[in-house]
């Protein structure tokens, strides 16, 4: 486990030195501008506007980092051959993969936590004082992080066997289709062959379900998020990530580093 942590820490260090966390400046400016503006133009819906804007920004920025850095986690190391000296050390390939995943997840966690803190400062500015119901925002941030973990795992999987450009396309395609799994599951049409409908339903169970992680509306309206959903989403993300990482590990363990 120590070796996984060593790789993870180095991946985090790389992200920090490559100035990935600079996006926080953009987020801070966005929150300051929104907090000032929202006080001027809206009456009574300050919380909704700030929370929706803040959570959307946290999600979009996180997704951009997860996809664009995630797809290079392995392929960049292979292209630059930085991996060669490392794999000659007593490090198993799956340990390297898990470390890369953990490192980017740590980066995203730090980034998301900083953005969440900024969101709460902005919320505190437009609405005094904060209430217990605002905890729903914290849960929404946690769900975003779970969603990002899934995206990183997928990006890492594609990073193991294809080019960064294709990996971006595949990850984005899976993400977008994962937003519509509920529709796929319940879609009924007379013009569609029954076999296609069955296939669509099966596919909806295989695809990552990103819909369940979206609780932005509840958070924006200060509605409590059920504990069962928190447990369910945590377990879903953990199991899905494990399966994707296991698949990535199987592929990468057989890969020749030419």
């Amino acid at each position: 486990m120590n070796r996984v942590a060593v790789v993870a820490w180095n991946t985090f260090r790389e992200a920090v030195r490559d100035r990935v966390l600079y996006n926080l400046v953009f987020f801070a400016l966005l929150m300051i501008a929104a907090a000032i503006l929202v006080g001027e133009i809206s009456i009574g819906i300050e919380q909704m506007v700030i929370v929706t804007l803040g959570l959307s920004a946290i999600s979009v920025i996180g997704l951009l980092i997860a996809v664009f850095i995630g797809v290079g986690l392995v392929s960049k190391e292979m292209d630059k051959r930085t991996l060669y000296a490392l794999l000659a050390k007593p490090v198993r390939r799956w340990e390297f993969l898990l470390g890369k995943f953990g490192g980017l997840l740590l980066t995203l966690a730090v980034n998301t936590a900083a953005m969440a803190a900024g969101l709460f400062v902005a919320l505190r500015y437009v609405k005094h004082p904060l209430e217990r119901a605002d905890l729903a925002v914290l849960v929404a941030v946690y769900f975003i992080l779970l969603k990002l973990a899934l995206v990183v795992a997928l990006a890492l999987l594609f990073s193991c066997y294809t080019t960064p450009l294709l990996a971006i396309l595949f990850t984005a395609a899976l993400y977008v289709s994962g937003l519509f799994v509920q529709e796929m599951r319940t879609y009924r049409s007379d013009t569609m062959a029954p076999a296609v409908q069955t296939m669509l339903r099966w596919l909806s169970y295989v695809l990552p379900n990103f819909e369940n992680f979206d609780v932005m509306a509840s958070a924006a309206h200060g509605r409590a998020i059920p504990g069962a959903l928190i447990l369910q989403n945590t377990a879903y993300a953990a199991v899905y990530c494990t399966i994707v990482l296991a698949a990535a590990s199987v592929i990468f363990s057989r890969r020749n580093l030419k």
């Binding site: 120590n2 070796r3 060593v6 180095n10 260090r13 790389e14 030195r17 490559d18 630059k80 051959r81 930085t82 060669y84 000296a85 490392l86 794999l87 000659a88 050390k89 007593p90 490090v91 198993r92 057989r254 020749n256 580093l257 030419k258």
Partner: protein, 319 residues
């Protein structure tokens, strides 16, 4: 007799290619050889001969199509084998956002050292490869030669019993090459086994107990450098100075290579004394005499050309 540190048996590597990966290119074909414990072994061959393929197979970066290899009695698939080997990749490249100390510390963390041991080892290695003063500079600012030194430092950082170096001299200036040679000799003195690939035959001649020549994915010859080439002297080379014109020396001088007043003349062993007499009689000043032997380079070129001729013959008969 010393035991083998590296045993390679019928190691073969094919790479599939083409749209459906149905065709294959053989990079290494049935390689069988061994490197004895404490030996410095040079792996020679032209570009694309299979040297790097063999090395990558040994350190587990690629997987064999057939055959096996063992290092210190352990299979190359055994991860614990990696504790005892050090590896320098060809044209090494490392995380350029790290400094040399940080990189070495990072690699040291994969071995079971305490923090104090790590610090001490990193310091010692940086000193050994002459990068003590550059230790706090990010690797993105390093020259190719400096990266090669960092690569060497990370390969020997954990005091491995077997050191595998892929083209350790490439990209180095004469001073750097000399330093790498010294490090290899020091490793030998410490009883380590060193396997390195190189294009530079003089380095191999100077450092290696044995060399293996690989051409076209096949091992063409293994042995001590002086055993591999025909060591029977071919004659003598006489270096002399001569300024006066003497018609009697005309035949001799026409066979010699002239540089200013100096002449370099190669003569058969049985003609040496007669030639010397003749030169002395004509007032030439003899500067030196050296035995002329076949070099490893000639042997190497002979093998490479034979391989090319064979490949051309196969191509013609194939048509």
């Amino acid at each position: 007799m010393a035991s083998a540190a590296i045993e390679i048996e019928n190691l073969t590597k094919d790479y599939p290619f083409g749209f459906l990966h149905l065709r294959k290119k053989t990079s290494l074909e049935g390689l069988t050889m061994s490197v004895e414990d404490g030996e410095v072994f040079g792996f020679l061959g032209p570009n694309g001969a299979g040297k790097s393929t063999t090395i990558k197979l040994l350190v587990g970066l690629i997987f064999p199509t057939a055959g096996t290899a063992r290092i210190l009695g352990k299979s190359i698939n055994d991860i614990s084998m990696h504790r005892d080997i050090g590896y320098l990749p060809e044209q090494p490249y490392f995380y350029d956002y790290l400094t040399a100390s940080e990189l070495l510390d990072y690699f040291a963390r994969f071995h079971e050292f305490t923090a104090a041991e790590r610090r001490e080892r990193v310091q010692r290695m940086l000193k050994k490869v002459g990068l003590e003063t550059a230790r706090k500079i990010q690797l993105r600012k390093y020259s190719k030669g400096m990266l090669q030194r960092v690569g060497l430092a990370q390969a020997i950082l954990h005091d491995p019993k077997v050191v595998i170096l892929d083209e350790p001299m490439s990209g180095l200036d004469p001073v750097g090459r000399r330093e790498v040679r010294d490090i290899i000799l020091e490793l030998k003195r410490d009883g380590k086994t060193v396997l390195f690939s190189t294009h530079i035959l003089s380095d191999a001649e100077m450092l290696c107990d044995r060399v293996g020549v690989i051409v076209g994915g096949k091992l063409r010859g293994v042995g001590a450098p002086d055993e591999m080439v025909d060591m029977k002297p071919r004659g003598m080379e006489i270096l002399f100075e001569y300024a006066v014109g003497d018609a009697n020396l005309h035949t001799l001088l026409s066979k010699a290579t002239q540089t200013g007043k100096r002449y370099r003349l190669q003569v058969a062993e049985e003609e040496v004394y007669a030639t010397l007499e003749q030169l002395r009689g004509a007032g030439a000043k003899i500067l030196s005499m050296t035995q002329v032997k076949a070099t490893l380079e000639e042997y190497f070129m002979h093998l490479v050309e034979a391989d090319r001729a064979q490949a051309a013959a196969v191509e013609v008969s194939g048509k």
